[in-house]
Symmetry: D2
Subunit: 379 residues, 4 copies
């Protein structure tokens, strides 16, 4: 078994999710590669050391440039905020490291395009952590679509609803709330939540040709967690858009952090000529499936409990009826990345795939500010 030495940048929510995936993957998936938690990197030495101890990283770094310079690191995992993705990724690719980058790829498509150029020029394996593609129910949706079971697609509908920033007392900036600081996040729910919806949509339903959008910032000013001072809010709290896909289907997309009752309700629905699909992150182990070809008398939406061995990824886990959770999507992504390495077939979404989403979010933000339909640039 070949080892793959991981250098992890960041130790927050995503640092934990990725580390867990690297640690678990070989217990459940037979692979030629074995990730080794070689080094964790963050600016605060005490915190990064605690993180390394918890997860079993062999060493720490406090400067990502040093991490990249280390000969014993094979792969750089960027689990740091959006505003540092591009610089780190470009440097890492120059150092010949494989790169896994947390989503969204970049602050905007221009930066994203530089990252794509860098990894493609360096020829290093690269992937973006759009983990929802690998929830088994979502992967099953992809399989059903690819088998042509839906026929011509008429409608795509996605939303991502949260409610954690309704209080004006939630600050912006700092460790837990950098997603509210436009300087660090680039945008609000557009890049954070809609990006997930868009990545899945492009994967399942092909390219988006044009969009018209609206955004809103409900709370105009928030204290900055680092400076302690009130500061204008630069992100979008809510974002919605209408879209037309290249295949002729119509779509509605919406994301917000102002929807009471929803913690992380990412849903999508696809209506085709013959069949329809619905999925919901709050019950991620189920896929709702309607097949018009069922006999009329007993036609109805099927609630598929995706836990059988013949359903994606599930033969590697427990037994039918027993569900897995959120974290497993990351394990699957690592498994597929490693499988891609051994087979010489890069696993998606690559940086180039991630750039396609950045092009859509750029168009959404542009439309929201101009009030016009905007054509989406090709990746």
């Amino acid at each position: 078994m070949k080892t793959l030495n991981i250098g992890m940048i960041g130790y927050g929510f995503m640092g934990r999710a990725h580390s867990n995936a690297f640690r678990k993957v070989n217990n459940f998936f037979p692979l030629d590669y074995r990730p080794v938690l070689k080094a964790a990197c963050g600016r605060d030495a005490a915190k990064v050391q605690a993180f390394a101890d918890t997860w079993g990283y062999e060493s720490i770094e406090t400067d990502w440039r040093k991490l990249i310079a280390r000969a014993d690191i094979d792969l750089i995992d960027i689990a740091a905020p959006n505003n540092v993705h591009a610089e780190i990724a470009i440097a890492a690719s120059r150092a010949g490291k494989m790169i896994l980058c947390e989503k969204p790829l970049a602050m905007n498509a221009a930066d994203g395009a530089k990252m794509v150029k860098a990894v493609e020029k360096a020829g290093v394996p690269n992937m973006v952590w759009y983990n929802y593609r690998r929830i088994p129910a979502v992967t099953l949706a992809k399989q059903l679509i690819d088998e042509g079971r839906l026929g011509k697609i008429f409608h795509y509908r996605a939303k991502f609803l949260q409610d954690w920033t309704i209080s004006a007392d939630v600050p912006q900036g700092g460790p837990g709330t950098w997603r509210l600081d436009v300087a660090v996040a680039g945008s609000g729910v557009t890049g954070d939540l809609l990006a997930h919806c868009i990545d899945t949509a492009l994967w399942l339903n092909g390219g988006i040709s044009q969009v018209t959008a609206m955004t809103e910032t409900f709370v105009k000013q928030r204290q900055h967690a680092l400076t302690g001072k009130p500061q204008k809010v630069g992100i979008d709290d809510a974002s919605a858009f209408l879209a037309r896909f290249s295949n002729g289907s119509l779509a509605t997309f919406e994301a917000t952090r102002y929807a009471r009752g929803h913690k992380a309700l990412y849903t999508f629905e696809i209506n085709g000529e013959h069949a329809s699909i619905f999925w919901d992150l709050h019950d991620l182990h189920r896929l709702q499936w309607f097949d018009h070809r069922d006999a009329g008398l007993v036609r109805g939406w099927r609630s598929i409990h995706v836990s059988d061995g013949d359903q994606p990824y599930m033969k590697n886990w427990w037994v039918p009826g027993l569900q897995i959770g959120y974290e497993h999507s990351f394990v699957h992504q690592v498994a597929d990345f490693l499988k891609g390495l051994q087979d010489g077939k890069p696993a998606a979404p690559t940086f180039r795939d991630g750039l396609a989403t950045d092009h859509v979010t750029d168009a959404v933000l542009k439309s929201a500010s101009t009030g016009r339909w905007v054509n989406v640039k090709k990746s």
Copy 2:
């Protein structure tokens, strides 16, 4: 079109439900017969007159014997409490009237047997108001079973849960609470709620051969609504039993008025070799259907919205997607009764069918008092 003159005894909840059915049936179902609301009967002249005015009854009576004696009455509908079913039905059959009797048929199987004997000797059309057979989703379940789609049946599971008598302040006896007075009701939830579950079960799954049961009276004493005095409670508040059907399947049945959160949750589930069915009165327009012969990848419980024209009774109502409610089951029962008249094929459940349920409830009560398995008498 032939008229059918109705004499209604009782003007409570069931008096209203039946009257509504007689009034509506010809608006929705093409039939040779037309029910005419000829006379309403009750002991309180003022109340029965108000009822007659509301529903359009042409006349009133305050003595059911006079009603039965009237030549202009074709059909006696017994919507009065359980303790008068037998006497009225026997007298009405002797007078050659058709009889519709509210469920349960009688206070016990002995009385029920006399009623069966009376109507069969008189040769008068007769039916018991076990209306749930004619909820379209339930009728569809029957159709699927009769088509053999479930294969061999292994399990039957039914319950009827309410929560309206938890407070010890609810009285017994009197208009709204006679169901708590054993002298009027005969038994508690066994005859009131389990009787519904049993009628459906016998219809869908055939005869029950033996049972073991337990009952409980949680509130031992309640004020009597008519006397105002505290009185020992003679009914069962909760009743559960295990059963074996003649077809070899096993069953659990349960009813209670002490289940917080359930107003009238009647559910049944049937598990067969190939398929399973679940139904729930709180969402009565849906049937849950699982077919193991669906492809494994997309196998799941289907939630069938029973509102299409090819589903039972639904072509007579609105358009697909628009649901009907509780009251419509009574309309269907009248429609089927009238269809039975014109075709010369009596509609079920007849009094003899109703007696079969009384035999089971008798066995349940006997088992609960003896602690033994009890064989169910045949109807």
Copy 3:
């Protein structure tokens, strides 16, 4: 009790729904007025006579002008296709008749404005059949909002999904399919389905200030049912729009007849500062309610089975736990209209309320054709 003589124009789906409401209302609601089914009107004498026989109309007419001219008619109910609403309503108001008009009010806002002017000038009671306001769960939503339980509203989300026109073999024009003929219907799903969503939204959440929309016609040509010839389809098969309400909330609206698996799935969701509401026509007797003020440990969406006596309209029906259906919303609307008459307080939605929806649908269609945001005219 005062009689109110009804003259019904049209005998299709809505003619039946309205007739049923007039026939049932006095059985369930104590009122001073009693509707009398005086005359039914349609161009085909045989068909309208059959309809009159089924429902108990005392007479028929084949020319609506004659019906309006009759002195024994108090109220004209327009249950005919959209393209005749304006002419009939204006004539009826001149004749001093009360008018109930099927939705949408008119082919467009210009026609609608003339109708409003006519009824207001004549001073005749008038109402539009936007029946969904009176589904008890929807009325309960209105009550909760009016009590301020949601606080500031951030989001409104509505959709109306059907799947009955996916096949290119469905014709346009004629009795069952006039909704696909632009000359008769005025528009497609925008005026048919979105109009329902918009009426409810304006009622629950106040005025819409601006919209941006897209529409699509998936099947470009259909045979005309009357001529038998292929003809270009002029209606919109699908329509979606983003909106901003006057209260600052954002909205998405969508309707289509190309969503496999949905027969008549009208849903809306409202997210407020403190609470959220969701409702779904396929389970119309339930309201989903989330209250953030519940203790965190047990906070969750509540599925309210709207069937208790203290919930809107329900004390007039059966007992808790027993659901009513689609048709009852029309009964409620008649009850409220009659109550309005006796109290001298006109029940909503009046023609003026109906015009407000026409202004929104006009704006949606204009935006869809121009690709621009469009301001909504005030009613």
Copy 4:
């Protein structure tokens, strides 16, 4: 941090689930102890070596007596079939090892009592792997009950439904199907599935005083996987019982492997004076909660998505809205066991707690064979 050397006996489904728990616990829970995967033990050296490689066990043994004799082993985990639990546990306790034993504790209560005696005499920490107590939603149910939120309990209802043995071609005996071989399993669904239901029930609702039961073996003969010969089936395929708890509540319990459509549907419902609870393993991250003290207008079942930081165990995982799965219940059990060690307060369920369940399953089997109510022995 103190290490705790694990000796694992068995490498099947449970061997994996337990190993995963030992490996993950320190990544998510701050504890003084750290489990070390010291040795895996099984009769087939090649298979146990492969298992050890996958999970990182440092060594293997093929004789459990040798494993127990090793000085470097602190804790014996019995993940082997039921028929060896007693002998191994008694030997391990004599060797002074801590013991974690897979459920059910023993083949019957007599054996279980010997195990309890052994561990209590040796004074070794001991626990049974009834993992469902530590699904966060189930733990939350326990907390709500202990806080008195339900008031007096009237009803308890549990079932565990599967469908994997319907085909007569499923063999008995051997690695994947030993649960069908009475010599190895002791009983069928009674000890396998009902045992889970009973353990939870005793924990949530106190002791069961008496039961009446029925069992059935639908497929009477199956090939033995090891001998290849047809052999009489000695286990129960289905088992149901009625029960009375010491607190006066009534209960129904049922388990089967013949319920089409259910892979592992373990559900329980508890109805109290003030509130009710429902839980379902197929959506294990949700708790259904009905509180009658909610205002009547908006009273309904709440679907609680148990993923917030203030809900049991959840602050150690991801962020609100993101669900965990089946395997996490084992991680929680290890965390609580280790916490118990450091605090000197043994975590439940101990062997003595496990014996209580064996007493109930013994009573169930006895009642099923005698047709009588049977009193449950105290643990």
